[in-house]
Symmetry: C2
Subunit: 212 residues, 2 copies
Amino acid sequence: MPLKTSRTTVHRLPKRAHYDFDTITDILDSGFICHLGFVSDGQPYVIPTGYGRDGDVLYVHGSAVSRTLKAVAGGIPVCVTVTHLDGLVLARSGFHSSMNYRSAVILGSAEPVLDDKLRALEIISEQILPGRWAELRPTTRKELNATTVLKLPITEASAKIRTGPPADDDEDYALPIWGGVVPLALIAGKPEHDGKGVPMPAPKYLAKYRKK
Amino acid sequence: MPLKTSRTTVHRLPKRAHYDFDTITDILDSGFICHLGFVSDGQPYVIPTGYGRDGDVLYVHGSAVSRTLKAVAGGIPVCVTVTHLDGLVLARSGFHSSMNYRSAVILGSAEPVLDDKLRALEIISEQILPGRWAELRPTTRKELNATTVLKLPITEASAKIRTGPPADDDEDYALPIWGGVVPLALIAGKPEHDGKGVPMPAPKYLAKYRKK
């Protein structure tokens, strides 16, 4: 699949760029929150929202773009960006200071899901917390109608990844400045029951929950 | 300051919206990575990048938009979004399942910083890691020329915040489904020296590093 196009070619630090499907979907599958970009009256908007991947299709919770969707027929150009922050890279100069990260950028035309919205919601839910969906009270027709889900094919995309220690200028290593990495990760704490309803222990899938 | 405009008015779940300067800057000051949205040939792009706040001005590391900037005279419309993910909100239905989060959305016209780029870079550096900038090898003229920093006034903005347990439908509390919150936070691990240059202990400001 030609995920690399003139629009997804990374010009800034191109050696950090990747265009293969597996690298991009690995990044997508390691998260569940994206930043969805769309344009309305020439103004870009960027909204955080949940997503789920199924093969080469990305489903995005799209209620924030409902008004924009109504204003156009069919799909709208969007950009979906998923970013994992893995560390602060502390070089001995500001210029080489950086972050370790994995990010994926998907461009394309997003359309509202009309036919199988329930399945799309299941995919988003399972992306966030595998095993949860089957336990939930079933979704009603009214709830389904009140929810907008967008569908975006993963056909034009790029990833950008930085790992490892700082890359200082040779002469800067002689300076009395600490250089290295501060690892960062999104860590789950202990599940907190809301104290309502039926008392029960936290489900097993929560105890294991560590999403980076 | 009228941060609330027709463009920043939150329509989806408006009771989660805030428009006061302090709430918005609290969210900005709790982070250092934003998602920067801009438009090129009608296509939105969303790029993760570092930022720093100084009063009512946001400075954004903008090398990714350099090409777009060159194509236009003066500023370009941007959206800067900062999101902190605070927890998974596990309701007893999919419809009421949610996230706890704090997000800020700043709209406006971003211009390249020309006059005092060094100070802008210091503000971005200090946002990421207070105390670090003064220790670093000074930035050279060549490095400064190779860096694009954007300036965006915080004059049109909104925040959206969700906290607390799930809000289930009354009758769903009777269901044998675990309901509550899984807290999430971006946590710093132990600093890892790169093993090069001058051996020294990690600076004190790293040991205290806990950015949420």
